[in-house]
Amino acid sequence: MMPGQVDVGFGSHGHMEAMRQMDPAMHMEGDKRAEHVQRVFESLGLDCEIQRFGSSNSVDKGLRGNNVHGVLRAPRSDAVEALVIAASWETKNGTNANAVRLLAGLAKYAAEQVYWAKDLVFLVTDSGERGTEEWLRAYHGEGGMLQVRSGLIQAALALDLPPAHSYGGISLHFEGRSGQLPNLDFLNIIKHVARQERLPAVVHALPDMPRSSSIMEKYLRSARLLLRQVRAQAVGSTVGVHAPFLRYGIDALTVVGMERADGRASNLVSVGRTVEATLRSLNNLLERFHQSFFFYLLSSDKKFISIGNYVPAVAMLAAALLFHAMHLWWFQGPDSARSETPGDRIARINTYHQFLRSSLPGSAASFVRVHVMGAILFAVPFVVPKVVLTDSTATGYVFTMFVASVTLILHLADSMWSPHMVSDWRQLKALAAVYVAWVVACLSVMNFSLAIAVFVVAGMPLIFTRFKDKPSRAHRACAVAMLVAFSPAVVLSAARYLLDCEMADLSRSLFRLFLKDYSFFGSAVYPLICLVYWPVNMLCMVIAMMP
């Protein structure tokens, strides 16, 4: 794709003029703003359309907005492939006017060129990821087709430029909602061309270490970088405007401008030239990106860990649970089932199977019941009227369900104590461990970070839940306290401090955020919490309290 092999031409007086045409839109709102953007795009020679969308979903009420997109038809081909450059008016940095202005300038520039083999789609959306998702649905024909269309979208680039005169570098954000990643080559192209513009590109806004720093400092930076990626990939919320594209199998990332105080930095034009060079490189892309580089973790800006190197780690986590389960499974049942004398063999086997027969239905029933509880937790938010569901009611709902699940746990553990019930904590723990290992292993190939997260919150407490046959009361109390600390209600309340600065606001509910992510973007976090994490946590408590 020959990144950086061409002379970039963006930055002439005409382009600046086009950027200034966008300025009045900054002080407008709603429909008027969209119409202004459309006028500007049309004056530059693009095919334009405004998409007005309103939310009909029960989770998010009354969200409305406009998407404007303009298509620059490629002079050298027949509209089968397209590249998207997107910007949202509102981002978490406040207004994103610089990006919209840059879009106009780039459109002006691109319209002057003759070498485009792919259509360029310039998209300006009102409401961030939500708007992008609506636009993508309409583009792909779900719920009302767009009139002005182009071909298959091959790659998308989202711009997020905070209001500033100069940028000291760009930061790349690339994780999708369900842990999808864009191809590594796409990231490498941007890094390469940005370096030529003297605009250092870093990942996740983590500043680069000077060359003189010690190994320890470099190592710590790598660790922090990995942690940020794992966090973003596992949770998949508030990552950037590019996130919805990835769900449609389109490689996408967000370029965020990093502000810099001293005057030695580059201005908007060099960001534009970087984008231009990236687009020209993508223009050369013949088919798809190579399939080998969709799974990776970046340990520094120039190094990556491929799937072959990190999957063994998570496989070992699952294997640990499996071996634990195997050990427990062998040693379940009454002691008389494990005598070593050969003469007792038949009696021993009979006792063991008698035990299995009478205890397995009970264990299976506990499994089913906690999952039914999880299913109720999962389903209720989709049934209640949409006005009810706010951040505070969501928090209340989580804690109510927590109390409800405690009563179910007590009921289950209590029924295990009854003399008619044959049960063994080893069996239940072994089954739970097999189950968690299965979930972690299956998730790890799709979303490594989420698998790790599930292991940390569900698998680790499970391992430490119980070791002894007859634990003392203190042991049981400690185990239950630990499980409460790792319970979804507590973890969801505490995790906001780990996630993002804006989530640290106490009034926000992570549960509701995940619910929204699930219903709009198909993120897997919400079903996992309700259908795996919550039931497993309940099972652990039952195990801790069983005879």
Binding site: I346, A365, A404, W438
Partner: protein, 486 residues
């Protein structure tokens, strides 16, 4: 367990919290059923002389009632899902390649029915590959009745399969061939009661998903278990006729003819006749001839109705594995990769792998042709050309009939885990490959390999469990010795 306790369960769970859904109520019921069954059959240690068929009439009655409840619950659950959330079914289940193959897909059935209704032969295009029997069966419900009626046919077939399984399980304890058979001395006989067998089939998520996806494999299953049921109830003619029907539905049940011939030869019903090999041979040959005659009769009927090209569209299609749409079997990937000049050779090799076990397995387990059939169902489910999860569900449904083998099985943990991972990874890899575009075909095929390997492990384990149990029966003195290797 009596109806009183059941009612108590119902009352308790409705009392405990109003929030509890119907489904949980059902779960409580099922669980109580299972517990009742376990205590009912497991508890009594039996000497080798007394067989377990001597249960009290009162107990048998409650067993029947329990079976009816299980079937009714299974029916209600399926009906509720199909009637109230067809969206869920069509979005998440109907198009899954793991559930419906080109040879069993409901969509293609509808297509074929449309074509047939327009007077065009559905077998002319390359689309419809299911038996003309299904066209006849669905003609009325599809043409004149609302859509839910054809859904009801699928549900009814699935529930009937469960009923047949329960009847086979009940039959097995009373058959002369089983009842007069010596047991292992000092053994506690564990027998799954029929209602539990039915429950384990009906509430298996794989069965549920297959039925909801309306895969026509359900009808093939029904024919297959009917063959086994009539085989063990000493109605060989009916069984042979049904085997011909099952063969027309999905080809592979043809392998059941071998154990069926042994049953017809009297292996189950006149155990004393085992020595008389001439009567066995005569019975077996006669059964084979009857099978061929039935098969030919149905064939000619179909030729009259739909023309002779139905044969290449169904049988040849299955044998040649013409459609290489991915599924959970071994064929598709291999035949995408293979060069055309080797194709015929490897088709022969692969199909022989699936079919060649028929005679050896039947003969090795000739003392118990029913067990031979269970093994063959497992072999077919692992090695056929268009397998789906539904095939596994029938095999898993048949295993509880042989619960006495459970304590001889050594690799349950391994095979259960392999199957779990095979089942879990397939949709994940499918998502990565087809929807996400970041994986490729190798991913999905790897999951398939794990799945098939799990089935083979289970088969192997089951077969060796049966052989070791027979060894224990024949040479009980070997059991209490320690093996010392020097």
């Amino acid at each position: 367990m009596t109806a009183d306790t059941l009612e108590q369960v119902v009352r308790e769970s409705s009392k405990q919290s109003p929030k509890r859904s119907k489904q949980e109520l059902a779960n409580a019921l099922v669980e109580t059923l299972a517990r009742g069954a376990a205590t009912n059959t497991g508890g009594k240690p039996e000497a080798s002389s007394s067989s377990s068929s001597s249960s009290l009439p009162k107990q048998r009655h409650s067993e029947g009632a329990r079976l009816m409840r299980v079937l009714a619950l299974g029916f209600a659950l399926r009906f509720a899902i199909l009637a109230f959330s067809p969206d869920f079914v069509s979005r998440h289940l109907a198009a899954r390649v793991e559930l419906s193959t080109p040879a069993t897909s409901y969509k293609r059935l509808i297509e074929g029915l449309h074509l047939a209704a327009q007077g065009i032969s559905p077998f002319d295009g390359g689309l419809f590959h299911q038996s003309p029997l299904l066209l006849i069966l669905f003609r009325v419900p599809f043409g004149w009745l609302p859509r839910i009626c054809s859904d009801l046919l699928f549900i009814a077939a699935d529930v009937l399969v469960a009923l047949m399984l329960a009847k086979i399980a009940a039959k097995k304890t009373t058959l002369p061939g089983f009842a007069s058979r010596p047991l292992v001395p000092g053994e506690t006989v564990f027998r799954c009661s029929p209602s539990v067998v039915a429950m384990l089939y009906l509430f298996n998520p794989l069965t549920l998903a297959t039925c909801l996806a309306r895969s026509t494999i359900v009808f093939s299953h029904l024919a297959t278990v009917s063959v086994l049921y009539f085989g063990v109830s000493d109605k060989p003619d009916l069984a042979v006729a049904l085997a011909a029907v099952a063969t027309h539905l999905s080809l592979y049940p043809a392998v059941l003819v071998a154990p069926l011939a042994l049953m017809a030869g009297g292996m189950l019903f006149q155990p004393e006749a085992r020595s008389r090999s001439s009567s066995l041979a005569a019975g077996a040959v006669l059964a084979l001839c009857k099978f061929a005659a039935c098969f030919a009769a149905i064939h000619f009927l179909f030729v009259l109705l739909y023309g002779s090209n139905y044969f290449s569209a169904t049988f040849e299609f299955t044998l040649q594995a013409t459609d290489l749409q991915p599924n959970v079997g071994l064929f598709w990937y291999f035949f995408i990769e293979i060069f055309d000049e080797f194709r015929q050779f490897f088709i022969a090799v692969f199909q022989l792998t699936a079919l060649a076990f028929t005679v050896p397995i039947s003969w090795r387990f000739r003392d118990d042709p029913l067990f031979g059939s269970v093994m063959l169902v497992g072999v077919v489910s692992a090695l056929k050309s268009y397998p789906s999860w539904g095939d596994l569900s029938l095999f898993l449904g048949l295993i509880p009939i042989y619960e006495e083998l459970a304590k001889y099985m050594q690799y349950t943990f391994l095979s259960a885990n392999l199957l779990l991972y095979g089942l879990g990874l397939a949709p994940v890899f499918w998502h990565l490959w087809i929807e996400q575009g970041s994986g490729n075909a190798n991913f999905f095929y790897a999951a398939t390999l794990v799945y098939v390997f799990g089935q083979i492990t289970l088969l192997f384990d089951l077969g060796s469990a049966q052989l070791r149990r027979q060894l224990d029966i024949e040479h009980p003195e070997t059991r209490e010795r320690t093996v010392v290797q020097e």
